[in-house]
């Protein structure tokens, strides 16, 4: 820190480009949307900034609050499933032989090399009535059925008269499954980073001192991994909350999330100010989550000092 003060020039050479980038491509567009959220649509393309709260009042209508709630529910479920699965994956990678770890980490990141839309369409091919899951189950059913036939139990029709494909697509299950699939890497990476930094001797100490595996996990591993958990939860929950492609493509007739409504405001409904207000309500939630994170980090530091 001291050296920056002594060399202000060096400091500005390094700090200016990212600051400009941030101002130009993040703060400025965001400010634009924020201003627009107080605007009013006049005619087809013109927006007058009236500095009125009408759009926010409209967004607080029970209709939209209910959709917000549903989006929180979907994003929350997604985060919980990601946390459970992600923790297991992160632990597995941490305890894998060091030679294997880069490969395992790459497998986690590999899906990012394919566009989200393509991955979502691939999920459709997996989940649909004549998709891979149902085809696989149908083969198993056929095998089981002929086995029963062979065993002389065919007439009982223990597995049903014919194979009933599972309805995996176009419902809320598909939306949450798709969101978990898409967001899992966001959870695994910070968890891995936290677990990898963890001092293994704490675990050994805990086991040596008589704590069981479960107790060690709950009282030692989880607290040490907490920064990773908090980061993972935030960077999973926030984008999941704003998803619109997944509910659009995988969802059924009642899978609408708030981002679908926002998307429509910028397209078919052509009401950008209202769309801006809805997005900013989401933004406030995001800011709140990040503030919580900062609070947590602050408490952590205070704890160390004490």
């Amino acid at each position: 820190m001291e050296s920056w003060r002594r060399n202000p020039l060096t400091f500005w050479v390094f700090a200016l480009p990212p600051s400009l980038w941030l101002a130009l491509f993040f703060l400025a567009p965001l400010a634009l949307v924020w201003v627009m959220s107080f605007g009013e649509k006049v005619g087809l393309i013109d927006i007058v900034i009236a500095w009125r709260l009408d759009n926010y009042m409209r967004a607080l209508d029970p209709l939209y609050l209910q959709i917000f709630l549903k989006s929180f529910w979907f994003a929350g479920l997604t985060t919980v499933f990601c946390l459970i699965v992600g923790f297991l994956v992160a632990i597995a990678i941490t305890f894998a032989p060091p030679r294997r770890r880069p490969l395992l980490l790459m497998l986690v990141m590999l899906p990012f090399w394919t566009n989200l839309l393509i991955r979502t369409y691939a999920l459709i091919a997996v989940f649909r009535t004549k998709g891979f899951v149902n085809d696989g189950l149908a083969v198993l059913w056929g095998g089981g059925s002929s086995l029963l036939q062979w065993a002389g139990l065919g007439d009982l029709q223990l597995l049903g008269a014919e194979f009933e494909p599972l309805q995996l697509l176009y419902n809320n299950f598909a939306v949450v499954a798709g969101l978990v699939y898409v967001h899992l890497p966001f959870m695994v990476l910070p968890l891995y980073a936290a677990l990898d930094r963890m001092d293994r001797s704490f675990i050994e100490a805990s086991l040596d001192l008589g704590a069981g595996h479960l107790r060690t996990f709950v009282s030692v591993v989880i607290p040490l991994a907490m920064p990773g958990i908090v980061s993972g939860v935030i960077i999973t929950f926030v984008p999941a909350l704003g998803s619109f492609l997944t509910p659009d493509l995988l969802g059924g007739t009642d899978s609408q999330m708030i981002a679908n409504v926002i998307e429509r405001q910028f397209k078919s409904a052509n009401d950008w100010p209202f769309g801006a207000a809805l997005s900013f309500l989401l933004m406030y939630v995001t800011f709140f989550a990040i503030a919580l994170r900062a609070l947590w980090a602050g408490r952590g530091r205070a704890g160390v000092r004490a």
Partner: protein
């Protein structure tokens, strides 16, 4: 960006992300005073031009065409809202032609530079959404109707009732994900005009769709034909061209415009305000309205062309296909969507949000 195929080639295939690709392109700012470069930027639907059309146009005129794709009219409109990003020719549907004229987004056409207007069917030479066709010329037209699997349907489902007000095909129905179109089709079923904007009647249409929702499997994002082809649904509301394309792959698929009539659409060739190459744009529109070029396009994409000279060059199986050219008495009961103002847009969007949230 294109999407992986789950079925036939679809014109209005879902192309989210396309915008990102198009937005990444840079257009050289053409000087107004210099003669135009031999270039043209064409913004079109996917799978909506002949295989050799752009190459033939280049051999005929030396003009290089760059074609970008859009997925729906809303995307097109949103893209132009902040000013023309550099396109010379675009293909909006009739109600968006009207919207864009209202918003001053289209350039008047110089009919003197498009002699092939002579080839256009006289009934298409004028339009309520563009009186005198000052801003738009017809490219293709068609209908929205019902696509169905013949072996699973009880006769020909030639009534909107089967998908909007019946549990006969419960769980096997795909409707469209576009709220405006859904409300408009509900209006046709209820016996009202397609563009009905009375709030009470919009509520009536909303109640009808909300009631039918449990029987509907999905509000498809323009991939109803894929769902029908893969057996996910047995009956769906779709654009005729999308169903036609899968009818070629599967004999068990049929298409019918219900007896109440449906929506008649017309995609139009327009030059957006601020086009960098307006001269080339006129030459291109003229080329498309040419008999041979028009026939090649219609033969490839299998949509109804308003180009009479092109139709003369095409075989009987195209010209007498009822899924391309529905019977005259059905067409007479179909209506064209108009731009119904911002209040209508908001009322319909709110109704649709409620339907989806119900």
């Amino acid at each position: 960006m294109t999407t992986p195929k789950t079925g036939g080639v679809s014109r209005r295939k879902f192309l989210v992300g396309m915008g990102a690709v198009a937005a990444g392109l840079k257009f050289a700012p053409g000087s107004v005073f210099a003669a135009e470069d031999k270039k043209l930027n064409f913004y079109n639907w996917d799978t909506y031009i002949g295989e050799n059309t752009l190459g033939d146009f280049k051999s005929a005129t030396g003009i290089d065409v760059t074609m970008d794709l859009f997925a729906d009219n809303d995307e097109l409109f949103a893209k132009f809202k902040g000013g023309n990003p550099g396109y010379d020719v675009i293909v909006p549907t009739n109600d968006f032609v009207e919207r864009m004229i209202t918003a001053g987004m289209l350039m008047p056409l110089d009919h003197g530079k498009i002699p092939n207007i002579e080839n256009v069917d006289p009934t298409f030479r004028d339009a309520a959404f563009d009186p005198g066709r000052k801003y738009s010329l017809p490219y293709m037209w068609g209908t929205i109707g019902i696509g169905y699997r013949k072996s699973k349907a009880d006769g020909v489902p030639d009534d909107w009732k089967w998908i909007l007000d019946s549990d006969q095909y419960a769980g096997k129905i795909a409707l469209m994900g576009d709220g405006t179109t859904m409300i408009q089709m509900a209006m046709k079923y209820l016996g009202y005009p397609l563009n009905e904007s009375d709030p009470g009647r919009i509520r009536e249409a909303e109640a009808l769709l909300t009631k039918q929702k449990p029987n509907v499997k999905v509000f498809a994002d323009d991939n109803g034909q894929d769902l029908l082809l893969s057996g996910e649904v047995d009956i769906c509301m779709e654009w005729n061209g999308d169903i036609l394309q899968i009818m070629e792959e599967d004999d068990d698929i049929g298409y019918v415009v219900p007896r109440q009539g449906g929506l008649l659409w017309q995609d139009c060739l327009c030059v957006p305000t601020g086009a960098p190459h307006p001269e080339n744009a006129h030459a291109f529109i003229n080329f498309i309205l040419d008999a041979e070029a028009g026939a090649e396009i219609a033969d490839f994409i299998q949509y109804a062309t308003p180009n009479m000279a092109a139709r003369k060059l095409l075989p009987a199986e195209y010209n007498s296909n009822p899924a391309i050219f529905p019977p005259q008495e059905v067409i007479e009961r179909c209506e064209v969507a108009t731009y119904n103002g911002t209040e209508y847009t908001r009322a319909v969007d709110e109704a649709w949000t409620r339907i989806m949230a119900a």
